[in-house]
């Protein structure tokens, strides 16, 4: 189920201490440089952040499992989603999503990126929307990160690509209005490329 990201109360913790997500040293330095500059109004990113991280080298188990999953998705596709995988490296896949008919996103086009860790499916894949193809949703940040517990600590090794796609589509289908999370601008400044670096908290079990 989709959930909200935890917001730290600024009056409780001093500014410096608030940034406690697991982050690279570089990211913190960048932050500090940013803090000195006057705060500029937040502009949502219009193209994907440049990701220089090398792709994981999949274990034989992960490769076999992903091949099986792809076969199953060809045989029995998920409605409103198509998978675009390159045979030479299964560690990264792109899914093209169409807003489900009868929802507020009907006909819109979204792009999801899956990055599978070497230890997949014991560890969850990194799943993000690629800007600018990010749905306007209460639990989806404009940088493309999705607040969905089954992608993080509620991940189950049997979920797979199909499970993730179905959760995200149902998350879109049940959304009553198009809006961003309340802390969208703050989050964009704080987060790293990998949404799994964020400590997600769960306070919204509804939609």
């Amino acid at each position: 189920m989709p959930r909200g990201k935890k917001r730290t109360q600024p009056e409780e913790v001093p500014e410096r201490k608030r940034r406690t997500t697991r982050r690279t040293k570089r990211a913190i330095e960048e932050d500090e440089a940013e803090e000195e500059a006057p705060e500029e109004p937040f502009v949502p990113p219009t193209r994907p952040m440049v990701d220089h991280r090398p792709l994981p080298v999949l274990s034989p188990v992960a490769q076999r499992r992903l091949m099986k999953e792809l076969e199953s998705l060809v045989k029995n596709p998920v409605e409103f989603a198509t998978i675009d995988a390159k045979d030479d490296n299964l560690a990264r896949m792109i899914a093209n999503l169409t807003g489900p008919a009868g929802t507020i996103y009907a006909g819109e086009h979204f792009v999801l990126q899956f990055t599978f860790p070497a230890t997949y499916p014991i560890d969850s894949p990194e799943v993000v929307f690629l800007p600018p193809h990010v749905p306007m949703h209460k639990h989806i940040y404009s940088v493309g990160h999705i607040c969905l517990s089954s992608l993080y600590d509620q991940w189950s090794p049997t979920l797979g690509i199909r499970g993730v796609l179905l959760s995200i589509i149902s998350m879109l289908a049940s959304s009553p209005r198009k809006e961003r999370p309340a802390d969208d601008a703050d989050y964009a400044r704080e987060c790293t490329l990998n949404p799994k670096d964020t400590s997600w908290a769960f306070h919204d079990d509804r939609c």
């Binding site: 076999r64 189950s156 090794p157």
Partner: protein, 465 residues
């Protein structure tokens, strides 16, 4: 700047009234049992067996229930009687045996075929191959303490892995070790009568068997069972908490200056105290003075009885720059704070003396008439100094929150006695071997112990004559 601080301190009277007039019991080793990690295991088994007896369920499933209830046996039993299905579901316990399992199956994680014998299933019936279960459990353990309630890998399945599966799948290795450590921690932290010894690196746990609070671990660390700070009798936990907060609130520079340096009363060079005794000699002008009151040392000593007024806050006699207004709360605080940090530093210094005392013992033993038992008095004297310093330190917190009156007079009288002998014992015990008089040191140790006892008993009896 000083004015600000004065204003901040006007709240003191109000704070004082919130302090309960409780009495802290003195150190008693009888009221605690110190146990090693493997004994914690036995205790755990004991509780498991008790719950299994009452509920008529296998002990391993009972452990899952206990984990869910943070080892609160009473709460578990109560809730279980109310609604057993709900309690079991929340704990991921399935009592009914699994449905018949197929002879061959495809593991949903690695997508390979296996015989039933090579798979592992909980009572939910979801079969996975051993290797994938191992990966799943190892991953859970590396995620941290939550691994003690790891669910079945099947999406949405509530069943959780009991301990025996961890043990058989993880084999003997660092993952199982980690798992057992997390299990032990959940048990000790969940049990109301158990606490980890707070000393860094110590793996003993202590069980409270009486009402006492000062607990001495087998590692030697003496701590308060209630608040985990250093044992702080006669001050109460409440006082210690307020005092610590107060000390943190005070400006850092004030704290450091009053706590660590004083100017030589003669040549005004700032002096940092780095030795145990209050008898100071300025390294520049050789002036001898008392660290506490900065008066000349010649006016001090048991002959004159002058020095030992130093423990008593006298509003009329303060020539410190802070003592402008005798009624000033800051001065009141600084008076207690200086003495508190004084004893704290002396305690640290005395602890450092332990090694030297052992060397002195060895030296003594080489002399005729001294065996290890007969030489032990040196070490005992230093240990006595450390204990007295620790108690004296906390008496200044106790005294700070004690209202004026006959009780306070008696308290200060007892405190003065202890302080006087401790100071003397401290000086004697720091002397080089050739200057040590065995009888004198033994006598002073005994006297100091007696005064310590008098002080503690006096406070315990409510400071009434």
């Amino acid at each position: 700047m000083e004015d600000d601080e004065f204003e901040e301190d006007e709240g003191i009277q109000d704070e004082d009234e919130e302090i309960e007039e409780g009495v802290s019991p003195i150190v008693s080793a009888v009221e605690f049992q110190v146990i090693a990690p493997d004994q914690i295991r036995d205790k755990q088994e004991e509780i498991k067996a008790q719950v299994a007896d009452v509920l008529g369920l296998p002990p391993d499933l009972c452990q899952m229930l206990l984990i869910q209830f943070q080892w609160n046996k009473e709460l578990l039993l109560e809730k279980f009687m109310d609604n057993p299905e709900k309690v079991q579901a929340e704990a991921g316990v399935i009592v009914a045996p699994p449905p018949p399992l197929p002879a061959k199956f495809e593991c949903d994680i690695c997508c390979c075929e296996f015989r039933r014998a090579d798979g592992i299933a909980l009572n939910c019936g979801h079969l996975f191959c051993r290797e994938c279960v191992r990966g799943h459990l190892e991953n859970a353990v590396s995620q941290g303490p939550t691994c003690i309630s790891t669910p079945c890998p099947h999406s949405g399945c509530p069943a959780k892995y009991p301990e025996p599966i961890f043990a058989s799948v993880l084999g003997t290795g660092k993952f199982l070790e980690k798992y057992n450590e997390f299990l032990r921690h959940s048990f000790v932290e969940g049990s109301h009568d158990m606490k980890w010894c707070p000393a860094p690196g110590c793996s003993f746990a202590c069980i409270s068997t009486g009402g006492g609070t000062a607990c001495k671990c087998r590692c030697g660390h003496l701590f308060c069972f209630r608040c985990a700070a250093e044992a702080h009798a006669p001050a109460t936990c409440d006082m210690v908490e307020k005092w610590t907060m107060k000390c943190n609130d005070e400006r850092e520079d004030l704290t450091w200056i009053t706590g660590n340096t004083k100017q030589c009363p003669k040549c005004h060079i700032p002096i940092e105290k780095n030795q145990g005794c209050n008898h100071m000699t300025c390294s520049r002008c050789r002036h001898e003075f008392c660290w506490m009151c900065r008066g000349p040392w010649t006016e001090h000593g048991s002959e004159t009885g002058g020095y030992y007024k130093c423990n008593k806050y006298d509003p009329k006699k303060h020539d410190d720059p802070y003592a402008v207004d005798a009624k000033n709360q800051l001065t009141y605080y600084v008076h207690y704070f200086e003495r508190y940090t004084g004893h704290q530093q002396s305690q640290k210094f005395a602890s450092g003396q332990l090694k030297k005392a052992q060397e002195k013992m060895v030296e003594l033993q080489s002399r005729p008439g001294y065996d290890s038992q007969r030489a032990a008095f040196i070490l005992q004297a230093v240990e006595q100094v450390i204990e007295c310093r620790r108690v004296l330190k906390w008496t200044y917190v106790f005294g700070y929150y004690l209202k004026d009156g006959p009780e306070k007079n008696l308290f200060e009288f007892l405190q003065r006695d202890l302080e006087r002998t401790t100071e003397h014992l401290s000086e004697l015990s720091e002397a080089p071997v050739e200057q040590i008089d065995r009888m004198e040191l033994v006598n002073y140790s005994t006297a100091t112990r007696k005064f310590l006892h008098n002080l503690m008993v006096g406070i315990e009896n409510g400071l009434s004559r």
